[in-house]
Amino acid sequence: MSSQIGAQKGAQKGTQKDALAACNDFVVKFANINGSGSASANELFARAILRMGVPVSPRNIFPSNIQGLPTWYEVRVSELGWLGRRGGVDLMVAMNPQTWDKDLAEIEPGGYLLYDSSKNVPAARLRSDINAIGVPLTEMCNARYRDARERQLLKNIIYVGVLAALLGIEPDVVAQLLGEQYKGKDKLVKPNLDAFMMGLHHGREQLNDIVRLRVERRDAVGERIFIDGNTAAAMGAVYGGATVCAWYPITPSSSLAEAFARLCAKYRVDAAGHSRFAILQAEDELASIGIVIGAAWNGARAFTATSGPGVSLMQEFLGLAYFAELPAVVIDVQRGGPSTGMPTRTQQSDLLLAAYASHGDTKHVLLFPEDPAECFEMTALAFDLADRLQTPVFVMSDLDIGMNTRLTAPLAWDDERRYDRGKVMTAEMLDAVRDFGRYLDVDGDGIVYRTRPGTHPSKGAFFTRGTTRDRYARYSEEGPVYVDNMERLLRKFDTAATLMPAPQMQKAKRATRHGALFFGSTSPAMSEALALLQAQGVPVDALRVRAFPFTTAVSDFIASHDKVFVIEQNRDGQLRCLLLNELDVDAARLIPVLHYDGTPITARFIAQAIGSHIGSEKVMPLKRAS
């Protein structure tokens, strides 16, 4: 097999016998250098395939760096609609000499390597079991462009053109996307289109029929939209009625607050030009949550977007909000911890931090969105729940959902929907009742009535504090008064469990004693893993947990299976810890399946872990031959 094609000018055409072949089902990965302008070219590639009606799921794998360090963009093309990471790479676009060896090692046998052959690459640096396709990208750029910036940026567009030729991406679709992207900046359309065509022609003329991966037009995308979770969550905050946002920049949540600002500028400015929102970039996360709590105390819907280190800093305030009973919405876009950990990598490792945030006995409501559409829904819902329950509510997103553009259900809103502002006493209500006690459990559900400051000249005022107080909000350090209040807070948490979004069941095609619990961004990889297992004759029922406190459906699911795999993206099995702590189940029945290297979990990993565990159960132990 000739493994190096097109490296020299006038390269030969060739067809590889053992080359990977697939239609609308493969993985392309781009290895670039951060700050080289590759991001928009790579996204153009993904969007073009999507516009041809074939589902894609791109993922950015980026460093905590502005310029110079390695960055990758991985595009899974899947007509069947699998949106999780598959694992492995079929075609690598290796544009970064720093990571060359590592990138080459990832390519599946029979896979393809596209690289810049302007400088000759010795055969020893290539693999014999892959198909290497050299394109003199730098030479082509230098011949065509004089400006250094153009030479750098348009090189990326040239390789998109080459890929379009190799894979069969329709040039008209790319031309249309470039037109949309640079709408109003016509000057930019022409050079980009020109670079794309240069790559396309080179591919068509020099590299015909080399790659057996194909994109063919389908209608498999449907109504779905292509959006990142942070933008969708920000839209959820707009629709959910948030008026105050306080935040501190932290990856991977910064783009959420910035999207909220952009969306508010579009949807929340009145005819006179005044803002129906207030956004503050605070001095730190302590101030962010303090601002949120102050605004919530005054009856406005307020939120902050942060990540693990921010939630760590907010602990004291979160205890205050729990104990003083103030609504606060915290969107935690999780990343790798502990400490600064892996700021640009994904994990689901803040569950325990959030669930029991602060000193003393505390418990908080957590929502687990699986994709951008649920980031929207759950963020809007979080404001209703926070107002209803008068307590902090966390939306537990993560970097994988938050910062990657994902194919997701269109965002939906019912115009009949009304905000649930919870138990707020108006002046008329205060006049109608004989007795107002801020912490009186009038309805027996543990949820008390509150008044907004300034409501009534002589009724309903109270002193909010983090110290113990009686049912009338009067300071007290009496033991029974303290216990009475703490037990009511537990009753309120029981009420909370009845208001949580129900978990989602994916039942296996035949009855099984094996179950799997998972949550959040694991969802797409999990669905695919279940299909893989099903195909291997290993049926597993799965339940997607959507909230904490757990609803009874979660305990019922565990009770009805002998073994339940708990799939998580953290080291310590944090969901499993919560299940054991809150549901009083037998620990031996909950089998942890943990993936926490900072990359998104893959279907292959899950299917392998579950499959081998179940497989090992079937093996009869053999007697050791001494």
Binding site: H274, S275, E283, A287, I291, G294, A296, N298, L411, P453
Partner: protein
């Protein structure tokens, strides 16, 4: 200390303000602080100022952090909502409250430990942002509730009750506030009600961030020889730069002039008049011949020079009558944000359909 009831009987002949309320209507629960605590005098001055201005008590929001001073909002304005938040973080909570409802009057009460030690960051950033509020620091240079440790405002060289000497330099919150952009800055003494009440009134009617550093001796832990925050020390080293009075002339909502606090003939000595945010007039009777309260740089220089000479300057040190506030900078709607509902906030289904279409 658990809840103490206050007697409900009022003297029938108590003076009433424009709202028909007596001073008793501005009181709160019985203080649990030590007898003779300077903080109780400040609470008394707040009650007097609010009564004289005829502010509706329930339209004031009183917030604090943690500490002796932060307990005091329970001891005044019983009809106002109060929020005793966490240590050093009153500024952020108050900022959020102010964003949510711009119609209330915000009063933050803090101490030197709360604002200069644990809360210095939040103090600084609130001053930068121009949150419209009255920020009173009840400054005794010492931690009372934990029994006598120095705070960050304690002067270098001052002695604790147990005889320990503080070697760290003290933080002057007045200078910090001036540097960071507060638009009404004053210093006073809890023992000088005549100066303090008008200073608080001016702050409550000011259109931006008003800081009052009020030296308030701690009778339990910082009122001994060697302390620079004791009653005797402050009385001996105080230099007042001006006396202010607030006349309700030309206010937007006309009220009768309040004369209760003015000394006879005070008007004749007025040298400078400053119109407050709400239209009322701030009148400064100058004591220090050359003092100019409209010059930030001069105020900083003056305070530093006098401090070097061992003097504590009190009075209104700086005011910018045209100060704007955070809401003006954010260009928020006139209606309080907490009064907006679905109609004003939710773009609705049709907008979402367009949004979806733009993401395909």
């Amino acid at each position: 200390m658990t809840y103490l009831a206050k007697p409900g009987l009022h003297h029938p002949d108590l003076l009433r303000n424009q709202l028909g309320l007596t001073r008793r209507d501005y009181e709160g629960k019985v203080s649990t602080l030590c007898a003779g605590c300077g903080h109780d005098s400040i609470s008394g001055a707040i009650i007097q100022a609010c009564w004289e201005l005829a502010l509706a008590p329930h339209k004031i929001a009183k917030l604090s952090g943690i500490g002796c001073s932060s307990k005091t909002p329970d001891y005044f304005l019983g009809q106002a909502h109060g929020f005793n938040s966490v240590h050093g973080r009153m500024p952020s909570v108050l900022t959020g409250a102010s964003l949510a409802n711009r119609d209330l009057i915000y009063l933050g009460v803090s101490g030197d430990g709360d604002s200069a030690s644990i809360g210095l960051g939040q103090f600084a950033h609130l001053m930068r942002r121009g949150v419209r509020m009255t920020y009173i620091v009840e400054n005794n240079g010492v931690y009372g509730l934990t029994k006598g440790q120095f705070s960050a405002t304690a002067d270098a060289g001052s002695k604790s009750k147990r005889g320990a000497v503080n070697h760290d330099n003290g933080i002057d919150l007045v200078l910090l506030a001036l540097q960071l952009g507060a638009s009404y800055v004053g210093r006073s003494f809890s023992g000088d009600k005549k100066q303090l009440v008008p200073l608080i009134k001016g702050a409550l009617t000011h259109g931006g961030t008003a800081l009052l550093d009020v030296i308030s001796p701690c009778v339990a832990f910082n009122n001994h020889d060697g302390s620079t925050k004791s009653y005797d020390y402050v009385r001996e080293h105080n230099e007042a730069v001006n006396e202010i009075s607030l006349r309700g002339l030309d206010v937007i909502e006309p009220r009768a002039p309040i004369t209760a606090d003015l000394e006879p003939g005070a008007d004749e000595d007025v040298i400078e008049e400053i119109r407050s945010h709400d239209g009322s007039l701030l009148r400064l009777r100058k004591l220090a011949e050359s003092y100019r309260p409209d010059d930030r740089a001069y105020a900083m220089q003056f305070v530093q020079e006098r401090s070097a000479a061992g003097e504590i300057v009190t009075g209104l040190l700086y005011v910018d009558a045209d100060a704007d506030d955070l809401h003006a900078r954010l260009n928020t709607v006139v209606v309080p944000l907490n009064d907006l509902g679905e109609r004003e906030l939710c773009p609705g289904r049709s907008a979402l359909t367009k949004f979806n279409a733009a993401h395909r």
